[in-house]
Symmetry: C3
């Protein structure tokens, strides 16, 4: 539901902080144009200025801003101000403030700390949104609604407790059903009345019932999505413009999958800690783009926030090295973003984000390295306008499922230390080979339609829900290639263990094996994955290091490709493949090293023909493809290393921005990015 | 007060979780017999099923279980269900729930979180226990009462505050006495009324008065023991069967010494983290058995819980290597257990312990490595029935005193970092030489009768109470050998410093020295214990590393065996011996390395003739002895290393299980255990 | 306002703990004389004995103590007992107890936990102080009032909330002004009524508004100083003796600068962790003396507490090595103290400080190493009486400003990890070169009169307040030498960023440059400071390591002395100097290694003639100078190393204690200290 026809460049604009300095507001517009900006998010935390007293709406100043931007060719992404509320509201209606997990109600303070249930807050938001919609909902300068800001957190007030109980009643119907789902006979813990149920309050609430904790997280997601839905409805009274909310990547407080429907457009805030020495960071950032876009894989998304220089709240606010701002900006576009937007346009003078990177600093001039970097991005986006609305064609899905992650984090077993169960690490480790190989990937959850992919990689699918087992079985049967790992198919959607052979719900047949015991290793322990010579896979080494988790299996129909190298289960299967219908299902029982995964999934990428181009990329260089409505492909070569790199092109292409032909060796400077198209 | 005449094999059985699946309950009995099991704990968390509504008792289902077990030759250890209460009780009587140290009352949740003072809870428990006793207290299948479960924790509600004040009033009689004992003139802190006293609430209560904190811990212990006494009394209305409660080894929330009298039988739950790389772990586990048994050193104890495979709540749930389950099980028997009992029989489908090791897994079959391991233990226990009720003859006591430990942890001084004062580490370090040397040890507190031992090792007896000084003096005088260490004899039972020469209460005379200053070293600091050539002890090295603590002493009658090697107190005594009466008192002033302790205490073991057999054991192999009523000795050779070991037997013996003669070299496989008897 | 004419030797005396043991009280006086003591602080925590029931004052016992001391030639420093209150007061008036940041009110417990606002507490203190003053305010044995004890902490009760709002109203006049100062338009956070403001309560209060947090800290300081002022006023009814309160060095809960006026004498409690392996510890201790004395740089101060041996509450209670007690005691005198006072005279038998070092231990004798060490200090102080009241002439100021520190700790940016912004580390790093070079230093805040110094070193002056910029400009203009560093001059006193060129308020002109971006490095990152060959400074190396922070600058009139060695800003200025008026302003843009600072500031010390004597000191040896009213200089040579050292004297001097001539080589044993005077 795209309403823009240019790549958007701009960001969060907070004129409300400078209303006393009209000369600065005037200067802003001039600098915006100088920086090649064309779109700004406005109004995000402006409630106190939009409704300075209860019921008195003051929208004129905002109209002035929107008009002025529009007159200067700049679009507005209009925010609802519900991320923070004015002092009068907190004072008069304490119920709008959140109650924390310790049972304390917030005083007037902070942001993102309102109750999602409070009828008063919902009503105030409804009236505010309606007023904004009535005034601006058809303004030609307004492109999109930016609902609230970075939804998150939870409230434990009595209103939320009641809502939680109602949610449970709707889910389970009867207490009997709930008790059965919770296995609450454990520790004599059956609920004899709905009122005996409370949220998992810190210290005094129930935290040992993992299904209750899981349901609480589900409820928080549903309540938040419902709040957003209410915000949207209020807007719909006068405006048909698309709505979005700015999400936060792999933030684990919400299951963003439940926001797919309420959002017309997906957008998110991207704050990678560049130059922090983490060699996986570029892939991690790419993966996050692919996960956010994966919510609506057929449509472009928006990078709603990013820092034009250092981020102030990170551990170390390191400056971006020359080239990195361009690279980071175009990486978003390479992964399907139709925008490069920043937080923030101009640094405020006070508050806790006054040192957050901004296009315009406290000096107020265009004469800074940051401003020049931003202006250069503006130039380049202008030259790449053909990309607007283009697709991101992916034939590989890597599965990351938030409910599965919650269940894994909550469960006791395997390794309860450090990175907990290592789920996110596994997802990243499985993603990185595709990043290295130049393969477009969708990161999706279990709700996904797997049939559109050729390869599905699903690490540690502990919990099976949403028909995942059945969908995966059908996917393989019809010719797909599936890669699974140990500790798959253990519990159902209520976190109840499957009885009988696992992986459950028939996945044992798909993989052709049964999981028996799982061995957890201490940090210093090592085993190995020893590849059987006749496995037919072209691996460089015979043996790879194994650590942390060793699933023991007994094969039924699967063929063994690799075995454990030591310990009492030496010689038993560690890597298997099973032919199932027209497809194949690989099972990697152990947690092993990145080089193995790179070669294994790289091999599958080549043999299944999944790479964007038939090209071997040097280390640090990544390749993505976008394809416009006419089927024209754009190839993004991105060099994340701090030294130049060279790629041998498989075919003659041309530079997308200049049309200049390009063949043979493609030179990329350190942090360089080139966009090529088919001739 | 033994009511069993077989070694017990079985564990926690939770049929209440499977009442909806009668086929599983039937299958259980069949599998139990297949696994060689003969005893199960039943009813532990079944309150909601035993009294589903207030006053309505439903015991028939339980009768059915007990009857069926009995009909199949399986005994019941019957639990009272007070470890958790049903929802209706928490809802109707909030006072049964605990108030935490932050002053918040628990919601209906968790387990082990009831108030020990609440008259309502005590009454509900009384009625429940009475009902169980009336129905099952003379059932021929019931062996023993399992009172509640793993007592622990504390409650800070107003009822407990009042009980604490009453406890103080009973202890001190007058406020004057209390103020004197608390040295409360310090910081103007005398109590002018009993109501000014509160528990050491977190953040807002008194924590600077160490004697108050100590008294609170004593009160918690006494109140918990009193609660158990009330549970027992309710049972006694209809049943004379012995009672036990499952303890938790060195758990520091309770002083288990105060449960000696209320328990007819000692039992405990043993969860060592096998294969975690801690080389002291086998000795630590042995020591814990010896401490628990030390509560009633003349009687066998029961290992009430242990995991038949991985434990799910530990940092790393590593699988037991082949042999380890047998070794861990027979280690308990070697140290005086008449049972090998597991938590749990069958894995539940949900809840926070669904992945805890169990005899029967979610697959529900006997066809697993774990089940076979368990069945093998069943076989072997059957062959060792002669051991039932046999004694554990020990002539060495290592002193571990909980009140001393509390006082040390509370005190400010020495080293306030890391492992605090290192008391537990010292106790273990002193125990390990006996583990290595094949010496039976009792681990006892200061209440013990030392006169039954030949050697008493008492590290860091900071607090002298229970007549310990006098008992130790008499022990040495009458020919005993005592080993003490620095920071001994500093305070009385109220944590008040002795004035004058220390160690106090005459221990300075026993050791023949006065403690002056004590030097605490930083982690990187080192000194040395330099042995004087003429000391007559056959040590391998002249010098051993010293770290952390260096007590400076001035000898009076003691002879110096070793001196400090460096720093300003170089040359002053670090190891001394004093002849006192017919015995000798050694004083080790410094904290030194394990090899020194191994040699020093190994030397005493040999020269005092304390070893089970006159044999030198290879590293990793331990030896214990049990002796039956006829004086027949059983020798348990236990190999805790992951490689085979060989022991040269000092005399011809025979295998206890087969009667086969055994002499010369005894071969032990990795993790192997052999039980020999005198021919 | 000095009322003593001897160097004071003694400490905290708590006879109230021993009133039941008159023989111990008698023994005390005899031992005091034996130890060469002449002054004791009395009454610090004696409220319960001075007012055992509300309104009933019992001062006779105290009179007895003071009289007895006086009769034996020992002075009393008389304390007000407000550091702790009796039980009856806490019970009857709960408002006197503090409410913590979690909103919980303390029960009767602890110390230093009363509300500074409570009218009841203020009134009780007033009456108590008045009674003490009436009885003892003109006693010839009383030298000084010791007001309360180690003021600190904060209270969040409703009385304090109201006082805070009143304080804000007084500071800002209108909410408009406050909102402007707080930049509260950020996150829609303007206050529409004073009642919307609360203290930064943990979890539920406002912590994102850094200016509010800063104002809260300012309020806590002002309220505490006001409390002390009230205590003083009550005393003034009958006594004109000077008052002091014992401060805690760099304790960051209070801005001690605001106590300058209410204190007639500065005193502080000095607890360095000697022998902890920190090579900077001697300098750190010296710096703390210089900061405390810097509050009144023209007058001697008192070391009110110090440990005569190990401190019990530190991580590791290591004993003082022989010589260290003397060295630590005379270091205080060298830096301007007129006293060596201890906590505590005699160890109590109970409570949490029973193992804190004391002159007399639990053995109660003079026959200990500690007692002999103390007596030796007594001897030596007697021989140094000429020092009483002498000055500490300093021509160097190192700036440490508490409000700047608070603002830096609160701000988000640069590096948010580990030692936060590294401010204290920078201050110490800048101080150490003077410690090494034998230079007397005043450590002062921005309120200081810089015109009295020749060299001012002001690292990281992030916040400019109190006219600092203007004073520093004038200082340089009139010939002073200024050294500043990166991240200087960023915000005003409200933590609002300067717009335009920074460092702000004209400091850009003084330094001749503009700060642009600042690069924060990860822990492993390194850059270098590469000195330009023609810079004219005699450095040993061409290049020094740079870590953590790299301020990028553009010079205007400054001359570049050194540049960055690598990264994208290689070759840009890292060290500059600017001639401004008759003086010079150096700017060190990066954080670099100690050796560079030692050489750079050592060079300035030599060329500006700032050293006490023209002498090069060996590593570990420090030199200070005091000068009496007749202009006679005393030189303290202090050897903090654990080996002997030798100094070549630049001129013939004599030993202050014996008058013996001393020239050529001065030998200092390990931990030795010698005091020389001009002949």
């Amino acid at each position: 539901m795209r309403t823009w026809n240019v790549l958007l460049h701009g960001g969060d604009y907070n004129p409300g902080q400078w209303l006393e300095s009209p000369e600065i507001l005037r200067e802003d517009v001039s600098l915006m144009k100088q920086a090649g900006c064309n779109a700004f998010s406005v109004g995000i935390f402006d409630w106190e200025r939009l409704e300075p007293e209860e019921g008195r709406y003051e929208l004129d100043w905002l109209a002035g801003i929107i008009d002025r931007l529009y007159e200067n060719g700049i679009y507005t992404i209009l925010a609802t101000p519900s991320g923070a509320r004015p002092g009068w509201m907190a004072e008069k209606y304490p119920e709008v403030m959140r109650v924390n997990e310790y049972g304390q109600r917030d005083r007037f303070s902070g942001r993102h700390n309102h109750c999602y249930t409070s009828p008063v807050y919902r009503e105030k938001v409804r009236m505010m949104n309606r007023a904004l919609s009535e005034r601006f909902g058809r303004h030609p300068g307004v492109l999109l609604w930016h609902i609230s800001n970075e939804y998150g957190g939870e409230c434990h007030c009595e209103l939320c407790q009641a809502a939680f109980r109602a949610w449970l009643r709707a889910r389970y119907g009867t207490l009997e059903n709930l008790n059965r789902a919770y296995w609450s006979s454990f520790w004599s813990h059956s609920y004899a009345s709905w009122d005996q149920i409370t949220s998992p309050l810190a210290r005094v609430g129930e935290t040992a019932h993992h299904t209750l904790v899981l349901d609480w997280k589900r409820f928080v997601t549903d309540q938040t999505a419902d709040f957003m839905r209410a915000e949207k409805e209020a807007i719909r009274a006068f405006s048909d413009l698309p709505v979005t909310t700015n999400m936060m990547g792999f933030y684990d407080g919400l299951n963003y999958g439940k926001f797919r429907d309420v959002c017309d457009v997906i957008s998110w805030d991207n704050y990678p800690h560049w130059h922090n020495g983490d060699e996986a960071l570029p892939a991690r950032t790419a993966m996050t783009h692919d996960m956010m876009r994966g919510l609506k894989p057929d449509e472009p998304f928006l990078m709603m926030e990013s820092s034009p220089s250092a981020t102030n709240w990170v551990d170390v606010a390191k400056l971006r090295r020359p080239g990195m701002h361009m690279l980071a900006s175009l990486q978003a576009v390479a992964h399907g973003s139709d925008s490069v937007l920043y937080f923030q346009w101009r640094k405020g003078r006070g508050g806790c984000e006054k040192f957050h990177g901004a296009v315009v600093g406290h000096d107020g001039t265009a004469n800074t390295r940051v401003f020049r970097d931003v202006a250069a991005v503006g130039e380049r986006l202008k030259a790449l306008q053909g990309l607007v609305g283009s697709a991101f064609p992916a034939r590989v899905a890597v599965v990351h499922d938030m409910e599965n992650r919650w269940a894994l984090e909550e469960m006791k077993g395997l390794r309860n230390i450090q990175h907990q169960k290592g789920y996110m690490e596994d997802v990243l480790a499985m993603y990185r080979p595709f990043f290295r190989a130049g393969v477009n990937v969708d990161v999706v959850d279990m709700e996904a339609d797997f049939s559109r992919y050729s390869l599905v990689v699903a690490p540690m699918l502990y919990m099976l829900r949403a028909g995942a087992a059945e969908k995966l079985a059908r996917f393989v049967e019809q010719g797909g290639t599936l890669v699974g790992t140990g500790w798959t198919g253990i519990v159902d959607e209520n976190d109840l263990c499957f009885l009988g052979s696992v992986p459950g719900q028939g996945l044992d047949t798909v993989f052709g094996l049964t999981e028996t015991e799982i061995d957890a290793l201490y940090d210093g322990d090592r085993n190995s994955l020893s590849l059987t010579p006749e496995n037919g896979l072209p691996f460089l080494r015979r043996s790879y290091e194994v650590r942390e988790l060793c699933q023991l299996v007994e094969t039924t129909t699967a063929r063994t490709l690799g075995v454990y190298g030591s310990d009492f289960y030496a010689g038993t299967p560690a890597l298997t493949v099973n032919t199932y219908g027209r497809g194949r299902a690989y099972f990697l029982a152990c947690r092993t090293e990145q080089p193995f995964l790179d070669q294994f999934l790289g091999y599958l990428s080549r043999t299944l023909g999944l790479r964007c181009l038939d090209v071997d990329l040097p280390e640090g260089v990544s390749l993505n493809e976008r394809r416009d409505a006419d089927g024209r492909a754009y190839y993004f070569f991105q060099n994340f290393s701090d030294h130049p790199a060279e790629v041998t092109l498989p075919a003659p292409l041309s530079e997308a921005e200049t049309g200049q032909p390009c063949e043979g060796a493609l030179h990329l400077p350190a942090y360089g990015v080139k966009v090529l198209t088919e001739r």
